[in-house]
Each structure stands twice: as C-alpha cells, then as structure tokens.
C-alpha cells in the first residue's frame, strides 16, 4: 500500500521515458521468490507487502527450508541403497568367523603373570669380543688404550657370566646391579677422557645399560654408536666391513632398547636395519657367515614372542615376508629383497600363520612362546603340537603354563611357582570356554557361553565382563562376515543375520538391531547413522545460515521509528 501510494506520488514521467512493462517472470524466478519469501521473510504476504512489523514472524518456512535438503538426501540414499535381503537363509555347516585372541578381561589377567606378559626373551647381544676390536678401539693415548682394553675385557667376562643376555625380565639383584654400575662408571670416565667420540665406549655403555634393564639410557648410547659407524669414512674394504658390523650390532642393541621401552614399531625398524647391515658386512650373499663383522644372524638374535601384543611375531613375520624363508638361515639376498607381503597388521592372523608354518623344533624358547600364544587364543591343538622336552627351566615353566591354560594338564606345584594362581585359574576357565565356543563355530552352531558351577572366579564380575566382550566381538565378526558374503551368497548372509537374531539374549542389543536392520533394509546401521548425521549437519548448517540471513533481512527492512511511534506512551 505504501509502495503504491509512494509510487503514485511520483510525478508521471514524460511519455518518451515511459517504462516498458516488465516481462513476466519465469517459473524459476517465481519459485525462487516464493522459496526465499517463505524461508526468510516469515510474514504473511499482505503484511510483507506493507512492510508491517516483523512480530509475529513465522518459523515454519525457516525450519522446512532447513530440513528439506537433509530429508532429500536421506530419501535419495534410501532409494539407492534400500535392498532388503529376500533370499532364504541357508543351513550353516560351520560359522566362518575367528574368535578374538584376547579380550580386555584376559589382557588384564595376563598382566598378573610375568611370563605371559613379557614372554620368554632370548635376546643376545653380540659381545664386543666378537666384534673385532682391531682398529675400532685404538686410542692414541697408550694409557687410556690400556685402561680401555682392560675394562672391555672385564665387560666381556661379565657378559659371558650372564650369557650375554639383556632381556627385560632378567633377574637383577643388588650385587648384579652394583657390578654393572661400577663398570658403567669406569667406562664413563674413559669415555669422558675420549670426549665421547668412540663407538667402542658408546656401544659398551649401551650394553651395560641394557643389562641393567635401563633401556632409556641404552638407547642414546646405541644410537651414538650407529651414528659414528654411519658417518665414519672407511679407508678400505676391511674397514667398511667393520663399520657395517658395528652398525649391525649397535642397531640391534638399539632395537632391543626400543623393544624394552615398548616402542615396537621403531624396534622392528632397527632390527631390519641390523639385518641389512649384517648382510652388507657378510659381503657375500650366500653364506651369511660371521666373517669379520662379528654379527651372526640366528634365531637367537631375534626377540621372541611377546604375548602382550604379539609384536615379536611380527618381526618374524617380517622375515617370512621377505621370501618365505626359514627364520634360522635366510640368505642376505633374501633379506635385502623387497618385501612382497609386508605384515598386514592383523596380529592374530599373523600368529595363526606362524603356528602353521614356523618350524619350532629344536628351539624351545620360540616353541614355548608360541605355545603361550596359542593357549591364550584357545588353540589347544597347537599347544599340543608344539610340545617339547629337555629344555631349560624357563622354557619348561612357560610350556607348563601354556598347557595349564589350554586345559591339557594341571600344573605341577613347582611349575606354577611365582605365578598368580587366581589369574591362572581365570585364564584356564576362559581358555576352556573359548575352546568350546570355537568347537561350536566349527559345527555351525552358536550358544551362550555358560560358566561351570564348579569354577571359582577371582572376581564375580569377570565372567560377565568376558562374556560381554566376547559377545561384542562375535557379533561384530558375524556382521562383517555377513556383509562380505552379502553379494555372492545372500542365503549365507541371511543365515548369519538370523544367527545373531536367534542369540539376541546375550549378544549386544546394538548388534541385534543392526542385524535386523541389515536383513530388512540391506544397509548397515552405521551407514544409516552416518547418513543421518550428514543430513542433520547439512540441515543444521542451513538453519544457522538462514537464521543469520533472516536477521539481516529484518535489520534491513524493519523500521524502528515506526515501532517507536506505536509504542509511544501517548499512542
């Protein structure tokens, strides 16, 4: 009205300047106008034409405009992916899913048993006596040279006494640590005289630190030795070979130090570097002999199994991946070849591959570690197959423990010395339950795990927690398997979903609902929730944009003068 009136009050323009009637607007323009008016203005058309006050202002258009794109996205996604499974469920002869190696409950119990937690360590550092001292430890000052030579001799003797082992679980009493501290202080003094520039002192300082269980101190010393070996320019081939030997030994020590700190990824990298340097030192690719390098690659040099995370299996798998060679005698050419199948990261799968392929005969340490691993995974057959006799006490104890966990025998009184009996009992029960569950899966059935009334758990909630963990794991594995066979064999997929629905009493509700959803829609619940979240985010963003736009619109066209007049006390 005001616009009309205002326009009317304008003087009529001269005839030649008369405006040609505006062309009628297209459908798109009119639709755009309607949409913007509905979403932004929020007043009725008549009030908006007179630019009446914005209160009351409707929110309906704003909300609908914000929701529309999100809803449209959901409709499109539904139209594309909504494919209910109509195939008849097949009868399952076996359920092709793996059981988890360890649940959180088991890992907690494993922490209470040292040999399970740490595994058996057979890490031997090559003593310096094996690494040729000639040329490497030469010191211009004869007195210091003599002092150093004497000290290295003492360290070598000490190393022989402890069999050159530097595992983190070595027995370290006060006398042992005192001896090492004395050697470290004396070597430190010599190192100070030499201004810390000698690989021989750095290597031995690292060695002593590792023996003392001080991995954090050992790491920089070995790193220094590696650095010196890499930066030193050799005069001839023999010198080059010695430098490679130093690098191999120090890299291996560095790897051990990092493994001791739990930095397994870095440790594996250092072990790999040690292998490569050793091969370079061996010079000829065929023999891998000790030659002049002082570094011999044998299984004894490998860090055996660590049951916490099976990372040491991955080291062995690394060797396997370099041409499927036996661990004990790879050639340098094989070791240095590019890896066709690098470890994939699935520790359980790697462990199972090792059980099948790794020849453990004649290597009790490796066999004991693998037995422990297999026992914890519920693989009783593997534990039986890897059994050995006539090994040292540590390996025998580990084997007994593995057998006990696998339920193959009751541990003798002496075998379980120093072991948390309640944790061992819990693990035995859990291993039995896992074996039963595995047998069920092999026969194509699945029922809820039941605790034997005769069993005593160290914690009343332990079984319930384990069952919850295993239920979640089994349900996820079943869903993943059903999803993977969905396209090729919808009948099996439907059978697996039905299996979850049949076991809804103990499987997680979210997994049961997911299975029902997938069976009836063909889409996973996670996918749908993701799409919902995306649609909600789009709508929320649009809502915020439109709200800000509405505020700008109102600020631009609202007449505060008019509102002021209407609110005036005398009006």
């Amino acid at each position: 009205m005001l616009a009309d009136a205002a326009q009317d009050s304008v003087k009529p323009p001269p005839p030649q300047a008369r405006r040609v009637a505006a062309p009628s607007r297209g459908l798109v323009d009119r639709a755009k106008g309607w949409l913007l008016f509905t979403a932004i203005d929020g007043r009725t058309k008549s009030r908006a034409r007179g630019n009446a006050p914005f209160a009351p202002r409707r929110q309906r258009g704003l909300i609908l405009a914000a929701l529309a794109p999100g809803l449209a996205l959901l409709l499109i996604i539904g139209a594309i992916f909504w494919r209910p499974i109509s195939a008849e469920p097949e009868t399952l002869s076996a359920i092709p899913i793996p059981l988890p190696a360890q649940t959180a409950v088991e890992r907690k119990r494993i922490q209470n048993i040292a040999v399970l937690r740490e595994g058996l360590w057979e890490a031997r550092l090559p003593p310096w006596s094996d690494v040729p001292v000639k040329g490497m430890a030469r010191v211009s000052n004869p007195q210091v040279h003599a002092e150093l030579a004497t000290l290295i001799g003492e360290i070598a003797s000490f190393g022989d006494a402890i069999n050159d082992r530097g595992p983190p679980n070595a027995q370290r009493d006060g006398v042992f640590l005192g001896q090492i501290a004395d050697l470290r202080s004396r070597l430190g003094a010599v190192d100070g005289k030499l201004r810390g520039m000698r690989s021989v002192t750095a290597y031995h300082l690292g060695l002593l630190a590792l023996w003392a269980g001080d991995a954090a101190d050992a790491e920089p010393q070995f790193a220094s030795a590696v650095d010196i070996a890499r930066k030193t320019q050799p005069l001839d081939d023999v010198g080059k070979q010695r430098l490679d030997g130093i690098e191999a030994s120090a890299s291996y020590g560095l790897g051990l130090a990092e493994a001791g700190r739990g930095l397994w990824q870095k440790a594996i990298g250092e072990f790999d570097a040690a292998l490569a340097a050793a091969c370079r030192a061996a010079a000829d690719a065929g023999t891998n002999s000790q030659a002049d390098s002082g570094f011999t690659l044998t299984r004894a040099n490998l860090v055996p199994l660590d049951t916490r995370s099976i990372r040491n299996d991955r080291l062995i798998a690394l060797l396997h991946a370099r041409g499927a060679v036996t661990v004990t005698s790879p050639t340098c050419a094989q070791l240095l070849a590019p890896s066709p199948n690098a470890p994939s990261g699935d520790a359980d799968a790697e462990a199972r591959a090792l059980f099948a392929s790794l020849p453990a005969a004649g290597d009790p340490t490796l066999a004991a570690n693998l037995q422990l691993r297999a026992a914890l995974m519920g693989e009783g057959d593997v534990v039986q197959r890897l059994s050995f006799d006539n090994a040292d006490a540590e390996a025998q104890q580990a084997q007994s423990l593995a057998h006990a966990i696998a339920g193959l025998e009751i541990p003798a009184d002496g075998a379980a010395d120093g072991v948390d009996k309640s944790a061992l009992g819990d693990l035995r029960h859990l291993s039995t339950l896992k074996t039963r569950l595995a047998a069920q899966l092999h026969s194509g059935t699945l029922t809820e795990p039941q605790s034997d009334p005769s069993w005593t758990w160290s914690d009343p909630t332990l079984f319930a927690n384990w069952k919850s963990d295993i239920a979640s794991s089994v349900a996820n594995a079943l869903l993943a398997e059903a999803d993977s066979v969905h396209d090729d064999n919808p009948g099996v997929s439907a059978a697996l979903y039905d299996l979850i629905l049949d076991n809804r009493a103990w499987l997680p509700t979210s997994a049961v609902f997911d299975a029902w959803w997938r069976l009836n829609t063909g889409t996973s619940l996670g996918f749908v929730l993701t799409m919902l979240a995306i649609a909600a985010a789009i709508s929320l963003m649009l809502f915020l944009i439109l709200r800000r736009w509405r505020q700008t619109y109102r600020t631009t066209f609202e007449s505060w003068h008019h509102a002021d007049r209407q609110r005036a006390p005398e009006g």
């Binding site: 009205m1 005001l2 616009a3 009309d4 009136a5 205002a6 326009q7 009317d8 009050s9 304008v10 003087k11 009529p12 505006a22 323009d29 755009k32 106008g33 309607w34 913007l36 008016f37 932004i40 203005d41 908006a48 034409r49 007179g50 630019n51 009446a52 944009i545 800000r548 736009w549 505020q551 700008t552 619109y553 600020t555 631009t556 066209f557 007449s559 505060w560 003068h561 008019h562 509102a563 002021d564 007049r565 209407q566 609110r567 005036a568 006390p569 005398e570 009006g571």
Partner: protein, 412 residues
C-alpha cells in the same frame, strides 16, 4: 494541522512540537550563507587529539555524523547524549541546548565513555556537510580538506543525515511553494554531495591501504584528478565494510505536511485524468492511512525517491540501513515546554544507533585485527578475510526482497 482540525503528531495522533517550535525557526539551507569554514584553535586541538587517538590500536570506534546545516545533527547528538547518559555514559564535551539553535559549521567530536566498561566507548564526530563542500571546492588541498579527509579515513561508520521532507518530497514541496527555486537547487546539490561523499570513500580506503597512514592517503587524494576522486567503484572491487545509516531526520515536519502533499499528488493525478473534483472520503481515508504509516518502509521509500543516492550507497558499502530519525519523537501531544528527552526516549533512534555502533565495532575488530591490519605480512590475510562475503551484508536482504517484491524490483 490535519484537515479535521486536530493536530496529528508522530505519536499516534498526538501533536508534537516541531524543531522550529522548540529551537526557533530553521532557515532554509543556502549555500551562499554558509560562513567560511575556518578552524579555531579549540577545534583544531580537538581534531589533533582525535587523529592522534586514531593511531592507537585500542581506540574506540569513530562514528562520523555527516549532514548539512539544519539537518538535525546537533539535535541528534543531544538526543544521543540523553540516551547514553541514562545508560551510564559520560559525554565530553556536553552538547548544550543552545547549540541546537545555532548553525554549526565546526567539526565537533563527542566522546562517549562508560566508567565501568571502557571497551564500550565510542566517538561521535559531527562533520558539517559544508566542510566537505568547501574541501571539494578547494580541490582537497587546504588544511580544512585534509582534516575532512583524515576524519573520513579514520571513521569506522557513517551516519548520513538528510531532511526527510526534502529528501522524499522536494518537487512536491516546490510545487506548493513550501521551498523556493534556489533552495530546491541547493538541496539537489546536498544530495549530490552525499553521493560524492559515498563515492570518495572507496578511493580513500584504497589510498589508505596503499600508503598506510591517514595523512599520506589524504595527500594522495588531493593529488588526484577531480574526476578520478568521484569515480564509481571499479568492477570486481569489494565495497567498503564501514556500516552506514541513512537517517531521514526531522520527520515530524514531514508528518505535518505530508497529508497536504499527498492530497496534491492525488489531485494532480485526477487532473491528469481530466477530473476536476474534490477528493472523496475514501481517497482522504487512503491518504490518512498512508500518512499514519509513512515510516513503515523507509528503505523502499528512499530507494524510490533518491535512487541515485541509494544506488551509490549500495555499491559503495556492504552494511547499511535506512530509517527515520526523529530526535523529538515521543514527546506528549500539544507539548510546548522545554524538551525533556529523558522522559520519552525515542527507542527508534537508540536502536538505530546501537545497530550502527555494534556494526562499527564488529567490522573494525579488536586489538589483534588492528595489529594485523597494520602489519605488512599479516595485512594481506586481513584483507582477504575482509573481502569474504558475510551473511550480514545488506545485499542479501535486498536480493531476497527483490525476488518477491516487485515494488523494490521496480524501484531498482
């Protein structure tokens, strides 16, 4: 007076005093009567203080009140003083009641500060349009021109004040003999100067960005060719981020005369149709409704009546709005005494000014942005951020309304 013999004021039918009633008769604007704009020592000192303050990173925002004589600048300043004093602010120097009746040609800064909220302070600078005209005539080369340009460069927001009746009904008023030929011509000049003021802003910003300091920018403007100074914003360049409030002042005077002007318009339309008769009751009712709601759509109204000015503001500035600013609104009917502004504060003026102040603070940014803007390395980042589109820009609202409202579309 309305035709029914009742005084119809802005406040829902009550009569209100006009500016002339309260502060004496306001002579028409005559350019040749404006005294030469020379600075006295107080004014010069005030400006020097202000420009020195503008170099600080934590200075309060500067709002430039730009308008010609008798457009109500000083009355608005006093109104704002009353409003902000009631909100706990102090104003220095105080706007005296006598100042309104005087014809001011001084550049006068007013410092609004709050004792407990130092960050909420601001500076209102009263810049008479005559100073700008004088600077233009002097080719922006004398001391007065330099001060004017410096103030424009330092300003964070503009409040452009125009007399409502002349802005919207100048030709009709001339037809009825309410303004003379010379005054009409002069007011056209006023609006043209406003347009030039808006045009100059982007050149000044450009020079300021290139030279870094205000004085060098003012010097660069003075050295430009006259036609370059008022060139349109170049294609692709972003408009200024300074918020602008187009204020239509002294709307009470418009309201008193609007019914007569509208009647004349209708009669003229009837004559054009060949009808020589008096207005019917229905037509009078329509006029009454128009007059009663004259201020509902100020942006559309000014867009239809001053297309060139609005088009220039639209192209030069990204944030702007238009509204009537009646400093005397809210006073009781038949009021003849002294105007006690604190009794009936006009919330419209307050809301409009709050919008301008908030927008100025927002676009100016805090200390960090000021530092970044002055830093040679960071300034391109700030410029890039400033160039980004914002949903607060008025163009979004205009585009939205033009998509459904043919009145605005046709006006544009």
């Amino acid at each position: 007076m309305s035709e029914t013999g009742q005084r119809t004021g802005l406040s829902g039918g009550g009569a209100i005093p006009r500016a002339e009633d309260v502060f004496g008769s306001a002579p028409s604007y005559r350019r040749d009567t404006v005294p030469n704009a020379t600075m006295d020592s107080d004014e010069s000192q005030n400006l020097r203080d202000l420009l020195n303050l503008c170099k600080q990173s934590n200075r309060p925002p500067v709002i430039l009140l730009f308008g010609f004589s008798y457009s109500g600048k000083t009355a608005l300043a006093q109104r704002l003083q009353d409003i902000f004093q009631s909100r706990g602010y102090g104003v220095s120097p105080a706007v005296g009641a006598k100042a309104q009746a005087e014809r001011t040609s001084k550049i006068q800064p007013y410092w609004f500060s709050h004792p407990r909220r130092p960050n909420d302070g601001f500076i209102l600078v009263d810049l008479p349009g005559e100073r700008f005209s004088r600077a233009k005539e002097a080719n922006f080369s004398d001391a007065v021109a330099k001060e004017t340009l410096s103030l424009m460069a330092a300003a964070d927001a503009y409040l452009l004040l125009l007399e409502a009746d002349k802005t919207l009904y100048l030709d009709e008023m001339r037809g009825q003999g309410m303004v003379g030929e010379l005054e009409t011509k002069d007011y056209h000049e006023v609006v043209a100067t406003m347009v030039q003021f808006a045009k100059l802003d982007w050149q000044l910003s450009r020079k300021l960005g290139r030279h870094g300091d205000i004085e060098a920018a003012a010097k660069a403007i003075a050295e430009m060719k006259p036609d370059e100074r008022f060139r349109e914003l170049s294609r692709g360049a972003r408009a200024s981020r300074k918020p602008v409030l187009l204020g239509l002042s002294i709307a009470d005077r418009l309201h008193d005369t609007m019914a007569g002007l509208e009647e004349a318009v209708v009669k003229k339309r009837l004559e054009a149709r060949g009808e020589n008769r008096d207005l019917t009751d229905a037509e009078r009712n329509t006029i009454r409704q128009i007059v009663a709601n004259f201020d509902r759509d100020p942006l559309l109204l000014i867009n239809m009546r001053q297309q060139k000015l609005v088009a220039q503001v639209m192209s030069s500035f990204r944030y702007f709005r238009a509204d009537f600013l009646t400093s005397f609104a809210g006073l009781p009917a038949n009021f003849t005494g002294a105007a006690s502004m604190t009794l009936y504060p006009p919330r419209g003026v307050e809301q409009n000014f709050d919008w301008l102040r908030d927008a100025a603070q927002r676009t100016r940014g805090g200390r960090l942005r000021t530092f970044a803007r002055r830093n040679r390395i960071l300034s391109p980042v700030v410029e890039a951020l400033d160039a980004l589109p914002s949903l607060r820009e008025t163009v979004w609202a205009l585009w939205t309304r033009a998509s459904w409202d043919e009145a605005l579309r046709d006006a544009r």
